[in-house]
Amino acid sequence: MNDTVTVLYFAALREQVGRSSEAVALAPDVLTVKDFLTMRRQEDAAFEAVFSQSSRVRVAVNKVIGDLSTPIQNGDEIAFFPPMTGG
């Protein structure tokens, strides 16, 4: 069985992607957030449509803010969201 990760979407991104979470199987050569984005943009047209337009997407891996170089592996929770606007 392929390695899988849980992907979460929040706020405007959640509405654009049309779901709040999903399980995604990782291709063997996906080692970082950047690899993951490349993979998803190739295999999912809806994902590509949203992420090609959203220049200010933030990412967290296992609830810690990351970036394109953050490593990912089986079982991780990857969250995508717009810049935060609390307070």
């Binding site: 979460l8 929040f10 706020a11 405007a12 200010r56 967290a60 609830k63 810690v64 803010i65 969250a79 969201f81 717009p82 810049p83 935060m84 606007t85 609390g86 307070g87």
Partner: protein, 155 residues
């Protein structure tokens, strides 16, 4: 200072219901007689331009975790005796309290600086998002503001 001791001096709550500012103040003051001042910030949903309410979304788990890390940083940086951060989520009408920051220290300088630090950093560093709801039915996600990001980066 151990993590355990820090934890007992930090109170982080994310909730939909209203908080009681007086009760929260008393709880913080009960930490000990070394407190000489308490800084506080109460954020309120500001009206205008037809705004009716805000809808607050958060990332459960990461939200509490990132606020705790922020509070621990404030504790060390401003020699705080304790601090409290309460943030509301869900739908909040104009005029409703949305966030409470309290910082207790031996002296006013640390208490006031820590309060400002906490609210500035919270606005761009904790996973909350706001959508604005207007009287004409429009619903618009709030974009992060450059001045907020600059204020957070200034510390």
């Amino acid at each position: 200072m151990s993590r355990q001791e820090n934890t007992s001096r930090i109170r982080i709550v994310v909730q939909s219901s209203l908080f009681d500012m007086g009760a929260e103040t008393s709880r913080l003051l009960a930490l000990g007689p070394g407190i000489g001042g308490l800084g506080s910030f109460l954020g309120v949903v500001r009206g205008g331009d037809g705004l009716v309410a805000l809808e607050l979304e958060h990332y459960p788990g990461m939200c509490e975790q990132s606020l705790a890390v922020l509070a621990e940083e404030a504790l060390l940086r401003f020699s705080l005796i304790g601090c409290t951060i309460i943030h509301r989520v869900g739908r909040l009408a104009v005029g409703e309290p949305i966030v409470l920051v309290l910082a207790a220290a031996a002296h006013r300088g640390e208490a006031l600086d820590a309060t400002r630090f906490l609210i500035d950093r919270l606005k761009t560093g904790a996973p909350f998002w706001k959508a604005e709801e207007f009287s004409d039915g429009r619903r618009v996600w709030v974009e992060s503001r450059q001045e907020d990001e600059a204020a957070a980066a200034g510390w």
